[in-house]
């Protein structure tokens, strides 16, 4: 059986538990979305709600909900801070996330309260490749058809 290919752009950070990608911009503003493995496990997204701009969110807690082919659940904030913008296009057409999660499929941007402190657990740089490999192996061992 051929293995699936998962795209993990090297310039991004990744939150290990929630499978969210994070792009750091200026002034501690981050943009985030669901990474390729998270998305593959969810399947096609049918609905998303996200907290509106101005809302306070806390790292690891809900910043919205989603319904995908397989389950309903929260979308978890990768950092604590204040929501700066929500991608309304994805809220109205969640399929964009499945099409282009690292581009047009971004979900939300947040002004981070403590980027240096909260980003230490994110995966990036040289640690990225081994982490992705380990994730795929772990999921394969659970019957995942990678």
């Amino acid at each position: 059986m051929s293995r699936k290919e998962f795209l993990f752009p090297e310039e991004l950070f990744y939150e290990k538990n929630s499978h969210m990608w994070i792009k750091k911009e200026d002034d501690d503003i981050i943009v985030t979305g669901i990474d390729a493995i998270g998305l593959d496990n969810l399947g096609d997204l049918a609905y998303i709600t996200l907290r509106p701009a101005g809302t306070r969110v806390k790292k690891g807690e809900s910043m919205g909900t989603l319904e995908a082919a397989k389950m309903t659940g929260d979308v978890f904030a990768p950092v604590s801070g204040t929501v700066v913008a929500v991608n309304e296009a994805c809220v109205q057409n969640p399929g964009i996330v499945n099409d282009d999660t690292y581009g047009r499929g971004w979900l939300i941007s947040i002004k981070a309260d403590d980027w240096p402190g909260e980003s230490v657990d994110f995966v990036s740089g040289e640690a990225l490749k081994p982490w992705v490999e380990a994730e795929i192996k772990r999921l394969e061992s659970q019957g995942f058809d990678a």
């Binding site: 496990n41 049918a46 995908a68 389950m71 659970q142 019957g143």
Partner: protein
Amino acid sequence: MSWRLICDDGVGAAFGLAADDYMAGAVGRGESDPLLRLYTYRDHCALAGRFQDVENEIHLDFCRGHGIAVNRRPTGGGTIFMGRNQLGVALCIPGKKEDTYGRAREVMGRFSEGIIRGLQSLGVRARFRRKNDIEVEGRKIAGLGIFRDSSGGLLFHSSILVDMDIALMLKVLNTPFEKISDKEIATVDQRITTVRRESGRALSTDQVRQAVATGYKEVFNTSLTEGYFSTRELERIALRQQEKYERPEWIYQTSRVKDAEGMCRIKTEKGLLEVRLTLAGRQIKALFIRGDFFASETAIADVEGHFRWHAAHKEKIEETLNQLYHKHNEALSSLPQQSLLQAIVQALSRARVVEKKLSLEPYGCFVSPGGNLHA
């Protein structure tokens, strides 16, 4: 580890949902052992899926006139009709150590095994059907859904049809039927089934409950300690009920992704074929097939079941039809595969036109998640 077992009957819609919602979080936070709750709702209630628009899915005037409660589940999927003859299953387990999405693929099938074992012990040949159904020979006998709480706790929901008043259900739920006659009732009766029908016995809901409890004990190799919610839990559930499940902002919220419907009627060499399809974003939410061709209702029900929450891509539709025609080769011989594919694709294309039109209209009544509504 021992699980808690709570059996309660005749619960109100808001309490029933608030209890499941709160306990998923309590188990996720480690404040409670895993919980298996096997319960029934007070006759009757209609519970929409997390993102459904109740006004689209439920005949609200009929419900108001007949004292039928309406509410919204935290889990996804379609609207369910609940009462004394439908057994609710809520399994709350911790998920903190698991990754958020990594096991989504497997958990639905795994958690349904307790129900399947229980039903099989009653002589019902139940089995898991891809995504979110338990079926018997292609007919749905139980629906399934999963919600992951922000604490990491997982709530697995199911509704098992011990029996069903189909005529009443069709008055409550919005269906693709233009009218409800004996023919439509008979059609639905062929698509779903019940524990009483499949077992050939007038089993009580409690007998089914005992079988399901035993099924979970065996499958998960656990013990069940029967009890009830603690005083503190009841206080917290009451609060969740007031702040969420009794609030119109929760029940009547609408989705930004509008359902779009498309229909296609074509004449095939074997008779007339009609397909009605409901599209939600990129998912086929529901498919309904009828016509004057001869085909096994069981096989048609199986086809419809496989297209609930199915990707709306032609290639994937074709792939699923190939599998289904391989499985039901003889039963579907009077319904040409290419005609069915053509009808589904055309209905889908018409639904997309409707969807585009809807997306240009304002969404005046959207309720943005926030506050204490635990979006």
